[in-house]
């Protein structure tokens, strides 16, 4: 019995050692990028491959640095912490809005896209307004008392929760005391599925994912920008989150982004906007 047990233990140790050794192939010629691939057109699954605008950008960075780029799908809410630790990945490209809280933990690349928060509703539920810049929109005050679905830890979630709870002591948000409820889902599409199932009244999500989600069902659902008043949109800027110790990578990302942003074609679209249109199926 003792012999058998000791033999087993030795075997187990050997297996562990072997695994540890093989896994120590060092990843210096590899950039590991975490993302949440349910945020079309910035990142989404095509078969089992992750593709999208952010993915194209990171692949260009890979070419720039002469490294291979590996993409791994993770829950959106965990991404910033991964990048902060920097142990398992170098950066996260997931359509991150640059916020002060996030910038404390990670470095952000230059802004490469400006997005507006959108509201998806069943057609005819809310009155569509026209803002002063002629954009069709909904106002925050219209969301009073509604059940609002968001993607966990996205800016949509932060904004809606902030407006419900009030931004600071004594200062009420737009939705404070209106019975508005915020429900967070793991990804935007799940929130949209909940809207379709009648569990919530509207979904607050970034502009492009919102347009993308309703693309196949524009007969029943509509999505318009979310404005504070006729002059102020709920806008935000995207950046790629990079670990604070990866200055070289950050520089390469910024170089690629600046080149893309400066590359304006005859239609006045820059490189990033053209990528967005390609992934939207609108052609380059």
């Amino acid at each position: 019995m003792k012999k058998i047990i000791s033999l087993i233990l030795v075997l187990a140790l050997a297996v562990c050692g072997a695994i540890a050794l093989t896994s120590c192939k060092d990843g210096d010629d590899e950039i590991i990028v975490f993302t949440n691939a349910f945020f079309a057109p910035f990142e989404y699954y095509d078969g089992t491959n992750i593709v999208g605008v952010d993915i194209d950008i990171m692949n260009m960075v890979g070419v720039e640095m002469g490294k291979t780029v590996k993409f791994v799908n993770k829950d959106f809410g965990t991404l910033i912490n991964y990048v902060e630790t920097g142990k398992l990945c170098d950066c996260a490209a997931a359509g991150f809005t640059i916020t002060a809280e996030r910038a404390e933990k990670v470095d952000f690349s230059v802004t490469y896209y400006t997005s507006i928060q959108y509201v998806i509703v069943e057609k005819g539920t809310l009155l569509v307004n026209t803002a002063n810049d002629d954009e069709q929109c909904f106002y925050w005050s219209q969301l009073a008392g509604l059940k609002i679905g968001v993607q966990l830890d996205t800016t949509g979630n932060i904004y809606v929760q902030g407006e419900i709870d009030g931004w600071e002591e004594g200062v009420d948000g737009e939705l404070t005391d209106t019975d508005a409820e915020c429900t967070a889902y793991d990804d935007a599409q799940l929130a949209y599925a909940a809207l379709k199932a009648g569990q919530i009244d509207c979904v607050v999500v970034d502009e492009l994912p919102a347009k993308y989600l309703i693309k196949n069902d524009t007969a029943n659902y509509e999505a318009y920008a979310l404005y504070y008043d006729a002059d102020t949109a709920t806008s935000e800027e995207y950046g790629i989150a990079v670990n604070k110790n990866q200055q070289e990578l950050l520089a390469a990302i910024n170089k690629v982004l600046n080149a893309l942003l400066a590359d304006i074609d005859t239609n006045g679209k820059n490189g990033v906007e053209r990528l967005v249109m390609t992934h939207f199926g609108l052609g380059a």
């Binding site: 019995m1 047990i5 087993i8 695994i19 896994s23 120590c24 192939k25 060092d26 990843g27 590899e30 590991i32 975490f34 691939a37 349910f38 079309a40 989404y44 699954y45 095509d46 078969g47 089992t48 593709v51 791994v72 799908n73 993770k74 829950d75 630790t85 142990k87 398992l88 599409q189 799940l190 599925a193 994912p209 993308y212 989600l213 693309k215 196949n216």
Partner: protein
């Protein structure tokens, strides 16, 4: 009819089938390897715990085994997976599938250990006494008389654990692996079908078929083992 059109679309589109096949493959690999590790760990722990009732030297290993069972059964497997992936095996480029296999193996081991211990202890003490009286050593008595009878008792319980394990693997997408459930989510995601319902139903069907196959095999094994029974 939308549902059936969706089904048709999934089964006739190669991209979707490849995705689901990859998910299915990962689910099966994780289940099979974890079940093997679980069975091994479970046997080990069960024997240590049984031996501790007879010998003082095994008291300390038995205490460790008890702690192992208490911790593993006392925490959700989702959290165990999380801890394994982000603390224990937080090594750059470490294959996630091995993390998942080890986590589920360790998890399964605790349950299997208790099943096996129950099986061994359900064999009448008279069997051990008879073996020892005939001059067999303790280990021979265990190996040739008690364990063969115990196996028959634990097969249904182990089968249960195997089936539960297969379905539990559906949480591995949490750490970035593509399993059957997650592959259905991919097929249902925006760029593909933009609808979760039909792919999820397809995944459920696959699980159902796999569990049915496992159950059938177990039934055959049980029938074979029960041939000598008079009941």
């Amino acid at each position: 009819m939308d549902f059936f059109n969706g089904l048709k679309e999934i089964f006739t589109t190669q991209k979707y089938m490849v995705t689901i096949a990859e998910g299915l493959e990962n689910s099966l690999i994780i289940t099979a390897c974890a079940a093997a590790i679980g069975l091994f760990l479970g046997l080990l722990v069960a024997f240590v715990k049984i031996a501790a009732t007879k010998s003082k030297a095994m008291k300390v290993p038995a205490a460790i085994c008890n702690l192992y069972i208490a911790v593993v059964r006392g925490t959700p497997v989702a959290l165990q997976l999380f801890i394994m992936a982000f603390a224990v095996f937080a090594i750059r480029g470490f294959p996630l599938i091995i993390t998942a296999i080890i986590t589920f193996g360790i998890n399964s081991g605790a349950y299997v250990a208790e099943n096996i211990r129950a099986g061994i202890q359900s064999v009448d003490i008279g069997q051990t006494e008879a073996g020892r009286s005939l001059g067999l050593t303790y280990s021979t008595t265990m190996g040739k008389i008690v364990v063969p009878q115990a196996i028959k008792n634990v097969i249904p319980a182990i089968g249960n654990e195997l089936i539960a394990l297969l379905k539990e693997t559906s949480i591995v997408s949490m750490v970035g692996l593509i399993d059957l459930t997650f592959s259905a989510k991919i097929v249902g995601s925006g760029q593909n079908m933009a609808d979760y319902f039909v792919p999820m139903c397809v995944a459920a069907m696959f699980y159902l078929v796999m569990v049915y196959i496992i159950a059938t095999i177990l039934k055959l094994i049980e029938r074979r083992l029960r041939q000598s029974d008079r009941r």
